[in-house]
């Protein structure tokens, strides 16, 4: 299957990033964790936005928990 012109979500420096195949293959494989492949940039951004929302909601839960324990 041809992956050129597809998009990836990777974890790099503890952050999620959307990156094209062309840019991915230029990276040192030890510097990132590959999460998922998507056909379009839009699909990758949709997933990325869900991941960020989930991180925000997890952080909010933590803050609430800390507030309660104070």
């Amino acid at each position: 299957m041809d992956f050129s012109n597809t998009w990836f979500i990777i974890d790099q420096h503890k952050q999620h990033e959307v990156i094209s195949y062309e840019d991915l293959i230029k990276l040192d494989p030890h510097t990132y964790t590959l999460l998922q492949n998507f056909k379009t940039h839009q699909d990758a951004l949709t997933e990325m936005s869900q991941l960020v929302q989930q991180s925000i909601s997890a952080a909010n839960k933590k803050i609430d928990h800390l507030k309660k324990s104070n």
Binding site: M1, T6, T33, L34, L35, Q36, E47, Q54
Partner: protein, 314 residues
């Protein structure tokens, strides 16, 4: 068996028994399914099995399966990289799925024995397969007989397999043993290896069987390790995990089996995938299945920390 025909070439490579992602309303999440399959193919899987044992096959309707397959093919997943598991007890429904696979030019269908709430006679089972093959005579899709755990599916006794193969050998490319029994592999090899290929879905059996292909649930999580195992006639082949000692693919698989053994399999695989993809929506399952409870999650997290799951190398 009387048929002297040579063994047909069957599927090769790693074919993950793909987990089916669902949304919060329990409908199939097509976007996430497509992305999971793309990611597996990128990591070296040859193709995928849809709606099989790990894919919660019996939980999804014919319409949902059709919609998912049509979506995947339309979005560019090669149809010859898809096998469809036909898990049902209704012969006309299974025949319809075989027609669908034929229409979409899928790689193959896996035809399991029916599940039923009473013992089935050998004649009944043979008639079931006769019905399927007679009602799909024009189909050119490769068929594999799919043996599943007998707690849910009826066993296919050797005599039944023998009769079905004898009558329909031109359509059958192999027997896929997903019962979890290694000893059954030996029996199948002894009885049928001259006529069809025998595949085991137990990753640790691959070397003993000298398989060229495997349908693997573990490959949802660790596709590269399963691929190493399949390709490693050389025992020196190993997987390097940064910060951990070098382990052979055999050791990794046995260790991973140990992690999985203590928990319900599909919920566990879905939890693991949610960790790899960092998206907890992957933990959703369609009822009657449910996700892992918090005690199981805590225990699993502990085992995983020792295992060192690394999506880049797995």
């Amino acid at each position: 068996m009387n048929n002297p025909a040579p063994v047909k070439a069957g599927f090769q490579g790693v074919w993950p028994d793909v987990l089916t992602p669902v949304k919060s309303d329990h409908s199939v999440d097509l976007r996430r399914l497509e992305s999971h399959i793309r990611t597996l193919l990128y990591k070296g899987a040859t193709g995928v099995v849809l709606f099989g044992e790990s894919g919660e096959g019996p939980s999804f309707s014919h319409e949902e399966k059709t919609q998912a397959l049509a979506h995947l093919v339309k979005e560019g997943i090669p149809s010859n990289a898809i096998m469809l598991a036909c898990v049902d007890s209704c012969a006309p429904a299974v025949a319809k799925l075989i027609h669908l696979a034929d229409y979409l030019k899928l790689q193959a269908v896996l035809i399991s024995s029916p599940f039923y709430y009473q013992d089935l006679s050998a004649d009944g089972l043979v008639n079931y397969f006769d019905f399927l093959f007679e009602h799909t005579q024009k189909s050119t899709t490769h068929c594999y007989l799919h043996l599943l755990p007998n707690k849910v599916h009826h066993d296919l006794p050797e005599a039944v397999l023998n009769t079905v193969l004898d009558k329909h050998l031109s359509r059958i490319y192999g027997i896929v043993n997903q019962t979890g029994s290694s000893s059954l592999n030996q029996d199948l090899l002894k009885s049928f290896a001259e006529h069809v290929l025998i595949y085991s879905c137990l990753e640790t059996d691959v070397k003993t069987l000298k398989s060229t292909g495997i349908i693997s649930a573990m490959a949802n999580i660790i596709p590269q390790v399963v691929r190493h195992q399949l390709g490693s006639s050389d025992v020196t082949q190993a997987v390097q995990i940064p910060g951990l000692k070098v382990k052979s693919s055999d050791e990794r698989l046995v260790e991973f089996q140990g992690v999985l053994a203590q928990h319900p399999s599909i919920a566990t695989y879905k939890y693991l995938l949610s960790q790899i993809y960092k998206n907890h929506d992957w933990q959703l399952a369609r009822p009657p299945l449910s996700g892992l409870d918090s005690t199981s999650v805590a225990a699993l997290d502990k085992s995983l920390a020792a295992f060192g799951l690394n999506p880049n190398v797995e």
